[in-house]
């Protein structure tokens, strides 16, 4: 009954709407399938982990329940939140600096070809230097201070953002720049109104990469040159062979990075690039 009503209401077949509907149903099914797959994979890993841990000493591979107990104890400590905040603020400070400096330099290098050609070797060289080397230099220059960790995050993530923004400027449509010139737009306005929106997608993929790298190298910097933060705790745990502590911190970090990806980056991207998502067929 309802079915006949439904079809008679749309007596003109609307293939486009049907195609959209079909695609949506398909994508919901695909999502369910992929969630199921992920849960199965996680369960499989835990089972294998459990089986493996039964035959080796706890300091080599602690069992899942032991790690869970350690994690619950860890989270209830006030120092846990202090360490987390300290490390996160270092990552954010280094990343924010890198985002600003990398974007400005990338835009300038893309806007003026001569400057781009001139500075290109510097970018290539900085990209080849290992984060550990930056950490050692930072230790020599800044000692055991906030500057050390922030510097390492900055030196690792800045070139990534710069390279992406610079690449993004090469996608600027010269036709749009010419159009702006017919309206007698100033160079700074052209930069702001045409270059900046064009590089946004590239900036985002660079920023995502840079944040991930920053969050990883901050631990190296903290183990080498800091007396607080997650990296410092990890070194302590390693010195005392508290393998369950190392596992608990690792799980915390993985969860944190996933949260940033799905609760911060993806929603921002979805909002910023509405025009792009709709443009896709």
């Amino acid at each position: 009954m309802t079915r006949t009503n439904h079809t008679s209401a749309m007596h003109v077949p609307d293939p486009q709407r049907r195609a959209i509907q079909a695609r949506r149903t398909a994508s919901v099914a695909a999502l369910k399938q992929s969630i199921f797959n992920r849960v199965m994979l996680a369960a499989l890993v835990v089972v294998l982990w459990y089986l493996a841990s039964r035959n080796v000493p706890a300091f080599v591979l602690p069992s899942p329940e032991r790690v869970a107990a350690t994690w619950i104890r860890l989270v209830s400590l006030p120092s846990f939140w202090e360490d987390l905040t300290v490390t996160l603020s270092r990552v954010l400070a280094g990343f924010a600096l890198a985002a600003v400096v990398g974007s400005v330099l990338g835009l300038i290098m893309g806007f003026d070809r001569r400057i781009g050609d001139f500075l290109e070797p510097v970018v290539i060289v900085i990209n080849t230097v290992s984060s550990v080397i930056w950490a050692i230099f930072a230790l020599i220059w800044f000692g055991l201070s906030e500057g050390t960790t922030i510097f390492v995050v900055f030196m690792t993530s800045m070139p990534l953002i710069l390279t992406n923004v610079w690449k993004g400027t090469q996608q600027v449509d010269p036709g749009l720049v010419e159009l702006a010139r017919t309206f007698r737009m100033s160079r700074s306005k052209i930069l702001l109104k045409i270059y900046l929106p064009t590089i946004m997608p590239e900036f985002f993929s660079g920023a995502r990469l840079a944040f991930g790298f920053g969050a990883r190298v901050v631990l190296i910097a903290e183990t080498l040159g800091s007396t607080s933060g997650i990296g410092y705790r990890l070194r302590q745990a390693a010195d005392l062979v508290q393998t369950d502590q190392v596992f608990a911190w690792t799980i915390t970090l993985v969860a944190l990075m996933l949260t940033v990806e799905f609760a911060v980056l993806k929603p921002i991207e979805a909002r910023l690039f509405v025009w792009r998502r709709l443009a896709a067929p």
Binding site: D173, G175, L176, E178, L179, A180, R181, T182, F183, R184, M185, S186, K189, K193, I194, P197, M200, W275, R276, L278, A279
Partner: protein, 247 residues
């Protein structure tokens, strides 16, 4: 209201191995105030280059362009808009914000900007699509947005480089009608480039015929026919035929 006067315009393009390519040679004509002038010629005769010179996008090697009696490129600037072959809409902006793009070059109040955008969208009949993104619009609608963007700055001179060549004939005729109506209503001086003789005869008061290598003026033809001009009437077909003979 401004006329556009060209005198002795010449242009060479540098070539890597050969001698510089002579693109335009001693071009001089006048586009009258509030009238429509067409530039026609075979491809490669420097039509677009000539338009770019008038727009101030390309410098001429010799000669002068004066807009409204003022030498172009000076400080006293006559408002001028250019429509290109492509619509050149900013894909990340809605139709309304695309129309407002040209207004952002100079300081303008928000209320005035909103009003100009609304008026321009009204003029091209796209008020209902103000919030649509370019990819959501048809080719004809995109051309209208580009036209509205050109008009929002209240230009005294409108330059068009085969702006409707990619539209289907029906849409094209319709937009022609709109351009004529708007140009007449606002006393805009229009200069447009085309390779389509019919389009030139239907729209223009004066037609400059160019011949190639190097681009020189073959003839300047006045079209003094009543409007609207139907391509099927005898006088229009005669004019088209005699122009084709010149090309």
């Amino acid at each position: 209201m401004s006329n556009v006067a060209l005198s002795g315009i010449s242009k060479w393009f540098p070539c890597k191995l050969d001698a510089p390519l002579h693109v335009l040679s001693d071009i001089g004509f006048e586009a009258q105030d509030g009238r429509i002038l067409a530039i026609i010629g075979a491809s490669g005769c420097g039509k677009s280059t000539l338009l770019n010179i008038i727009a101030g996008l390309t410098p001429a090697d010799q000669g002068h362009v004066a807009i409204g009696g003022v030498p172009a490129g000076g400080d006293a600037v006559v408002p001028l808009s250019v429509m290109f072959q492509e619509d050149r809409l900013l894909p990340w902006r809605s139709a309304a914000r695309n129309v407002g793009f040209g207004l952002e070059a100079a300081p303008i109040t928000v209320t005035e900007k909103t009003r100009r955008i609304r008026d321009a969208l009204d003029m091209v009949g796209l008020s209902d699509f103000a919030e649509a993104f370019p990819h959501e619009l048809s080719g004809g609608m995109r051309s209208r947005v580009a036209l509205a963007r050109s008009l929002a700055t209240r230009p005294e001179v409108l330059l068009m480089d085969e702006p409707f060549s990619k539209l289907d004939p029906g849409t094209r005729t319709q937009i022609h009608g709109e351009v004529l109506r708007i140009a007449a209503a606002h006393a805009v001086t229009v200069i447009f480039v085309t390779h389509d003789v019919e389009e030139a005869v239907v729209l223009a008061d004066r037609i400059v015929v160019l011949q190639p290598r190097p681009g020189t003026i073959r003839e300047v033809v006045e079209i003094d026919l009543p409007r609207p001009r139907d391509v099927l009437t005898l006088k229009v077909t005669e004019a088209v035929r005699s122009l084709r003979a010149l090309l």
